[in-house]
């Protein structure tokens, strides 16, 4: 059951990305190009998503368990750390270079674009390097 609701969530997420236009890297870069011909569409995507999700999280925060009885696993960390800021900064550079972030990359991969396969392969490689570095430095592991 829990695998089915998450399949449904993934499907709706993917459809949302396609409908919103965010699965098109050129459109995302149009949003990031403040100094050029600016396409503000991405701000409308964020506004719509946050409008619905904030209601859901208001409900989620009051519950210890999900509707299906699973533990509510909301992030506990509140610290603004150097790794948060530096990691986000590096992510933003990659996002700007390609116009792809993880969600849209999977959608464009599913749509069959070879460059999206390359992007996702490189992204997974970056994630594996993170895991290896974390294992090499166990003192800081877990401090996110």
């Amino acid at each position: 059951m829990t695998a089915i609701t998450s399949l449904l969530a993934g499907l709706i997420f993917g459809i949302g990305l396609m409908v919103s236009g965010m699965s098109n890297p050129a459109k995302v870069q149009g949003f990031l190009d403040l100094a050029g011909r600016w396409d503000p569409s991405l701000a409308f995507v964020m506004a719509g998503a946050i409008a619905i999700a904030s209601i859901a999280f208001l409900i989620a925060k009051r519950r210890k368990r999900s509707f299906m009885g699973l533990p509510m696993q909301l992030p506990a960390s509140t610290a603004v750390t150097p790794r948060l800021v530096l990691g986000s900064a590096a992510f933003g550079v990659g996002w700007g270079l390609a116009g792809l972030c993880p969600g849209p990359a999977l959608v464009v991969l599913g749509a069959g674009y070879p460059k999206a396969w390359g992007f996702v392969a490189a992204m997974v490689a970056g994630m594996i390097v993170f895991e290896l570095l974390e294992r090499a430095a166990p003192r800081v592991a877990g401090k996110r």
Binding site: G10, F13, L84, G87
Partner: protein
């Protein structure tokens, strides 16, 4: 600042955003989990491996959405301007950066901001800033 009215899609982007918010709502209310793509994918790569099923089905749903769109003759259109070299560098930075930051556009930008997490707001402002900067350097300083 000049708004690119020929590409601006406020209606569709808002609707797509509402769908993305709905997907995040389904995942948190039924599965008790955050719809953060980098975290869901990264969790498959970290050890010890646990709760794989919902991660895999969520990702299959995301990749399946454009596959279904293709079958319905409504393929997701993606224009990828970056070179192969740019794609691979970008993908690596996105993978590594999002794991250090514990989130991407979805986990921090949508879910974190919806939860009212300052940490996620900082992350979002950071990756947006470096994303803007990257596109600015690429298009207006290097002229490519």
């Amino acid at each position: 600042m000049m708004i690119d009215l020929s590409h601006f899609t406020p209606g569709l982007s808002l609707i797509g955003g509402l769908l993305i918010g709905a997907a995040a709502a389904v995942l948190v209310l039924f599965n008790g989990r955050i719809a953060g793509i980098s975290g869901i994918l990264g969790g498959l790569l970290s050890l010890p491996r646990k709760d794989m099923a919902w991660r895999i089905t969520f990702l299959l749903g995301m990749i399946g959405a454009p596959v279904i769109a293709n079958l319905l003759d409504k393929p997701a259109m993606a224009q990828i301007d970056a070179s192969w070299g740019g794609i691979l560098v970008a993908g690596f930075l996105v993978g590594l950066g999002t794991r250090y930051a514990s989130g991407c556009t979805s986990g921090h930008g949508v879910c974190g901001i919806s939860r009212g997490a300052i940490r996620s707001l900082v992350a979002t402002l950071t990756f947006m800033a470096t994303g803007f900067l990257t596109v600015f350097v690429q298009r207006h300083l290097l002229g490519g």
